[in-house]
């Protein structure tokens, strides 16, 4: 299975912050409330919650996609 990674459509993100609540070990918020993604790859065990975080983003700015180049 292709490795998955999280990405953000910055033009859509409105700093709701829900993603950081659903995926705290991978997403923190900066001083303005916008998500900071951890650099390391998503552990397999986290994938299900990552998918949930992506579908629950109120503006669908959080994207779960297969890693580029794989």
């Amino acid at each position: 299975m292709a490795a998955m990674e999280l990405g953000i459509d910055w033009t859509a993100c409105q700093a709701h912050g829900l993603c950081a609540e659903l995926l705290p070990e991978h997403i923190t918020l900066d001083e303005w409330g916008y998500p900071l993604l951890a650099k390391d790859p998503l552990p397999h065990a986290t994938l299900k919650r990552a998918r949930r975080a992506a579908t629950d983003c109120p503006v669908l700015a959080l994207k779960l996609t297969s890693r580029q180049g794989s």
């Binding site: 990405g7 459509d9 910055w10 033009t11 859509a12 900066d30 001083e31 303005w32 916008y34 996609t65």
Partner: protein, 391 residues
């Protein structure tokens, strides 16, 4: 400048379109690959790879691609693209047709800020296979960013969008789209005409060819010159009485004069082709602050980190540019630079951060002098051009 007078009933001879043969697309592609041509709009991406990617996307999706000649020179200090379009419009238009054939395009545009009328006249003199529409784009820093251009040509506001999917896959009205700087297209036309070896006869083996530069030397008029890659910067830009050099434009890099003396012209540092020598009696921090304010205003305001970070960086930098107490400004700028970098739909925050960090390095001594309450520059008026009264 090329003009067509409606009452003169003959096709132009002296001012006629150029003589680029429309070679077989596969042959043109092979020549471009062998030439090593890279994009001259700032990113220096290999032109052959972009052409192939767009052609593939067109075939795969069964949609003829759109080609866009990008003459939207939003960088205020750059004049090279408009100069090229004024002096050699047909070279650019030849290149546009060749690129269109290479990717089997169904539509072609030429995007410019101004000069559209004379370009339309030049187009009227040609018998192109694919008609070209000249489009006037808003005079904004980001107008020429490829996704912003694709958005504008699709009938939306000319603002960058998320890079997924990329413009080469889904650009103008979701068709695969080739956006190529006008200078790149002119090189492409010459390579088709004279071959890859001819192109590679100047420049370096790893960075072949030449590039147009807008050169600001103290006490001289602004010039657009063509120079080969690998040429020493000091031969392009006399460094006597110079304090620092800005390479690449407002998304570029400040070098101390000592560093500049050791550098050569490289494709990745050249950016938009701007070379500015800052006289030794000027304050580089004051000039950078002035440019940063402009860059913050020119943010499209769509992406949170850029929207929040750039105005804060610009304001704190203004504090640093004035002699006196700096408070936490230096640390704040460094932190905010880290927060905006890589966190936007386009590279506007990244380019702005490059300018900020290089200013911190090149003007380190001046920063300390300002902190101690003095400025070593007798002349604090800004030198770098910034368009006024844009909202």
């Amino acid at each position: 400048m090329t003009m067509t007078f409606t009452d003169i009933h003959m096709p132009p001879r002296l001012l006629a379109p150029g003589g680029t043969p429309s070679g077989h697309p596969a042959q043109v592609l092979r020549r471009i690959a062998e030439s090593g041509l890279t994009g001259r709009g700032g990113a220096a991406f290999p032109t052959h790879r972009k052409l192939v990617a767009v052609a593939d996307a067109g075939r795969r999706r069964g949609r003829p691609p759109v080609v866009v000649a990008n003459g939207a020179e939003g960088e205020p200090a750059s004049h090279k693209d408009r100069t090229l379009l004024r002096l050699s419009p047909h070279l650019v238009l030849d290149g546009l047709q060749l690129a269109a054939e290479a990717v089997d395009a169904g539509e072609a545009y030429l995007a410019v800020e101004d000069g559209a009328t004379s370009l339309e006249a030049a187009l009227a003199e040609r018998r192109d296979r694919l008609p070209v529409r000249v489009v006037r784009v808003p005079k904004r820093f980001l107008s020429g960013q490829s996704s912003a251009l694709a958005q504008y040509l699709s009938g939306h506001a000319g603002l960058p969008r998320d890079q997924r999917p990329p413009v080469r896959e889904q650009g103008v009205r979701r068709d695969p789209t080739l956006v190529q700087n006008v200078e790149t297209l002119a090189h492409l036309a010459l390579i088709a005409r004279y071959g890859a070896d001819w192109f590679r006869s100047v420049g370096t083996p790893s960075e072949p060819g030449s590039a147009l530069c807008t050169v600001y030397a103290p006490g001289r008029a602004i010039r657009v010159v063509e120079a080969p890659f690998g040429m020493e910067l000091h031969r392009l830009l006399p460094l006597d009485g110079v304090g620092a050099v800005l390479v690449g434009g407002y998304h570029g890099t400040w070098l101390t004069v000592a560093e500049a003396a050791t550098r050569t012209l490289t494709a990745d540092s050249l950016g938009a082709g701007v070379l500015i020598a800052l006289p030794a009696d000027r304050c580089g921090l004051a000039d950078t602050a002035h440019v940063l304010r402009y860059l913050a205003i020119e943010s499209a305001g769509q992406c949170g980190p850029c929207l929040n970070g750039l105005p804060r960086i610009a304001a704190a930098f203004r504090t640093l540019a004035a002699p006196g107490p700096q408070g936490t400004s230096r640390r704040d700028v460094a932190r905010w630079a880290g927060l905006v970098e890589g966190r936007g739909a386009c590279h506007h925050p990244d380019g702005t951060v490059r300018l900020v960090r290089s200013a911190f390095t090149a003007f380190a001594a001046e920063l300390d002098a300002h902190a101690a309450g003095r400025c070593t520059a007798p002349d604090r008026s800004p030198l770098l051009p910034v368009p006024g009264n844009r909202s």
